[in-house]
């Protein structure tokens, strides 16, 4: 990677010089060719349609096309240097020579063709070393204008984000089109951030429910998400069911696992009054077991739930597609539903009561066990649903998809305020948007770092999360 860093500056510095040198060489070569062409004709380079370098032959080849990438057919290409040859470009603009000897070659096209298409130069030089991978083939292109050369260079100097300006747009509108492109990019990133945030919110809301009811941060929640996706995969790709049916199937299986888990693991642990820290370790163990269980059955690769690629829809500056919108819609509706459930239904209030003080909840006539069981079931079902949506939206699900997203889920619920239902949604949206929009300014491999940094910053200002409330001291 070190080299990537050095390439750019050095390239910027050396390019003009190289260009100049090439021009001088070309001139010299022309003269040379004119003088000694008959003498050099002893060795002939073979013009071929396509050339693959081998131990015996190196290749000099290229494609002749306009700056706008239209192939230019039927143009004479002359090879000079160690070996000489001549060919005409094919319909797709390609041409190739097989050369037997190592050495320096010069490729020339007629000057008038170069002028007509506004090429900067009409000849180029390559070095061929048959045995060396990096030199056994020389690719020669002429499709560079003197003007666009300059633009593209300044472009490559600026950040990737701004490079979207097409090189041949010229220099006049460069500034304004750059800003509008940035604006489009921004909208698009914001949009994808929101969609991802919604999905993340859906994933996190189940985890938050469990936390809100039992105080347990479930590390196996990621695996529940994965389970949903994998079950949908089983539905669509193995049982060949329609997507909707598979989704329902996945959600049912997910809910069922929640129910069974509570029956056989969490219920007994609660009854033994095992602390949440200990239960958390159990979830870590469970997470481990489940991850490898998935690997056991599904292997280590990424599974696609649907094979088709949805058609794009243009919404103002935003490109999207129907499945993404539907996924986001489902996520939003579900999260709102959960919030309503928590704050406006009797059972919802009961879950919050249980989280506050289970003994007192029991003393109020709440069947704590069954409330918690319902919560686990709902939580796992929601996780499964989010797994399905995620698998569709992210175009694939693997044994470790859930666990890689777990961190973000935690971040989302914490940011929103642990145990608060709408907190998961808002937190997830913040994380999603920050992660996606921050790619406009920072490298994308660091985008989650920026989301996490936001989390830390918010917590410094609001230690109880966005929606958390503080109790009094004393």
């Amino acid at each position: 990677m070190a080299s990537a860093y050095h390439i750019n500056p050095s390239r910027r510095r050396t390019c003009p010089r190289t260009a100049a040198r090439v021009a001088v060489f070309a001139f010299a070569a022309l003269i040379l060719c004119g003088l000694c062409a008959p003498a050099a004709e002893a060795v002939e380079a073979e013009a071929v349609e396509t050339c693959v370098p081998t131990a015996e032959y190196g290749c000099v080849n290229g494609i002749l096309q306009t700056v706008g990438q239209k192939p230019i057919a039927g143009v004479n290409v002359t090879l000079g240097g160690t070996e000489a040859g001549e060919t005409t470009t094919a319909d797709d603009g390609t041409w190739a020579f097989k050369v037997a000897d190592d050495g320096t070659y010069t490729v020339t096209i007629p000057q008038d063709v170069a002028n007509r298409h506004g090429f900067a130069t009409n000849s180029a030089e390559v070095e061929i070393v048959k045995q060396s991978f990096s030199k056994q083939r020389g690719v020669v292109r002429f499709d560079k204008t003197a003007a666009s050369d300059g633009t593209s260079k300044s472009n490559s100097a600026s950040t990737d984000a701004k490079q979207s300006t097409s090189a041949n747009a010229g220099t006049t509108s460069a500034a304004s089109s750059t800003s509008s492109a940035t604006w489009t990019r921004f909208c698009q990133q914001l949009y994808s951030g929101i969609i991802f945030g919604l999905l993340l919110g859906l994933m996190a809301v189940g985890m938050n429910l469990v936390y809100g009811t039992t105080g347990l941060s479930s590390f196996s929640h990621g695996e529940q998400v994965t389970l949903g996706g994998l079950m949908a995969y089983v539905g669509t790709q193995m049982l060949h069911m329609p997507v909707i049916v598979s989704a329902v199937f996945a959600v049912v299986i997910g809910g069922l696992t929640g129910l069974l888990q509570d029956q056989f693991i969490w219920g007994p642990l609660r009854r033994k009054r095992v602390g949440t820290m200990q239960q958390m370790i159990v979830t870590i163990g469970l997470s481990m077991a489940l991850q490898y269980l998935y690997q056991f059955f599904f292997g280590g690769d990424i599974k696609g739930i649907v094979t088709s690629v949805p058609e794009g829809i243009q919404l103002g500056p935003i490109t999207t597609n129907a499945p993404a919108l539907i996924c986001a819609g489902i996520a939003l509706v579900t999260i709102i539903g959960v919030t309503v459930f928590l704050y406006c239904t009797r059972l919802g209030r009961a879950t919050r009561a249980v989280s506050d003080n289970a003994a007192l909840a029991a003393a109020s006539g709440i069947n704590v066990d069954s409330v918690v069981r319902i919560v686990w079931t709902i939580s796992c079902a929601l996780a499964a649903l989010s797994g399905v949506l995620l698998g569709i939206y992210l175009n694939g699900i693997a044994w470790n998809t859930g666990v890689t997203l777990l961190m973000l889920m935690f971040a989302a619920v914490t940011l929103g305020g642990l145990g608060t239902a709408n907190g998961a949604l808002v937190g997830a949206l913040v994380i999603g948007i920050v992660a996606d929009v921050s790619t406009l300014v920072i490298p994308s491999d660091m985008r989650y770092a920026s989301a996490l940094a936001i989390l830390i910053l918010v917590l410094l200002v609001r230690p109880q999360g966005i929606f958390g409330k503080r109790n009094r001291i004393g």
Partner: protein
Amino acid sequence: MTIIANILGELFAPTTAAYALAAIGLNIHFGMTGLMNMGQAGFMLLGAYGFAITQMHGANLFSSVLFALLLAAVYALLLGIPTLKLGPDYLAMVTLAAAEIVRIVGRSTSMTNITGGSAGIAPQDFTTQFEDLSPLPDGTSTFLIWTYNNNIANSWWLRIVAWALVALCAFLCWRWFRSPWGRVLKGIREDENAVRSLGKSVTRCKMQALVVGGLFGALAGIVFVLPRSLNPDSLGRTVTFYTWTILLLGGAATIMGPILGSCVLWVLLTAVKETMRVSIPPTVISSNQIEALGWIIVGVALMLLVIFRPQGILGNKKELAFNG
């Protein structure tokens, strides 16, 4: 026989020692002070970076270790000053996030010149000084049923140093546990406002605990990378989770718990995987599946251990009753 040697070898493998060190540090954080540090791997990674980078640039061993500790201490301070006022679950998240940020930044392409980016730092660049320091002769030695190289990588020399460190840290921990300082930390664990109302400097003690635990973490990081290479991804969340598992498996707020927990976890893991390798012919299920099955069993075993001994192997059952 080799299987048994392998399994029992994990008892005192450098990795086991590294995790034990990390867990001792975490024990100071969580077991004593109640700080839910979910980012112990962050301390380890910083320690490892501090050590390896200075070694790479030719610093001597002692100053490298010192630098690693310094780095971890500074990180602890930076992390602690703003965050120690957070509630436990929120602190957990912040430390987890901070550790991830350390890793993500460390592996990012923009840091390649310093940290080696995603490739990390190769062992030949930072282990030689340590290996040269060994008083042992070159070659391989066998002790009882175990044969290891004397000096290189996963060696006897590293084992000796690592376990000496573990012993030292455990001793310190033991001293602290039974001292008034330890009592203040435990008070903070239970209710920091109560401790505050009694005039103890809660912030200072928490910070001390965070730094000390972090320093142990940094040492753990060094021990962790010495037999292998420094790769930021190998000190990620998984490591933190294992450390927690080890701590609670052995018993939080006990001296020997972290060490025992580490031994149990790695011995268990190796035992299961080794046994699976030899006992299931790959014709029944594929090699991939055998290894996966091994992990499944370990996961389930962990769950069972906690379910049937929630206070940890050495933990006090009575404490559990007041977990709330």
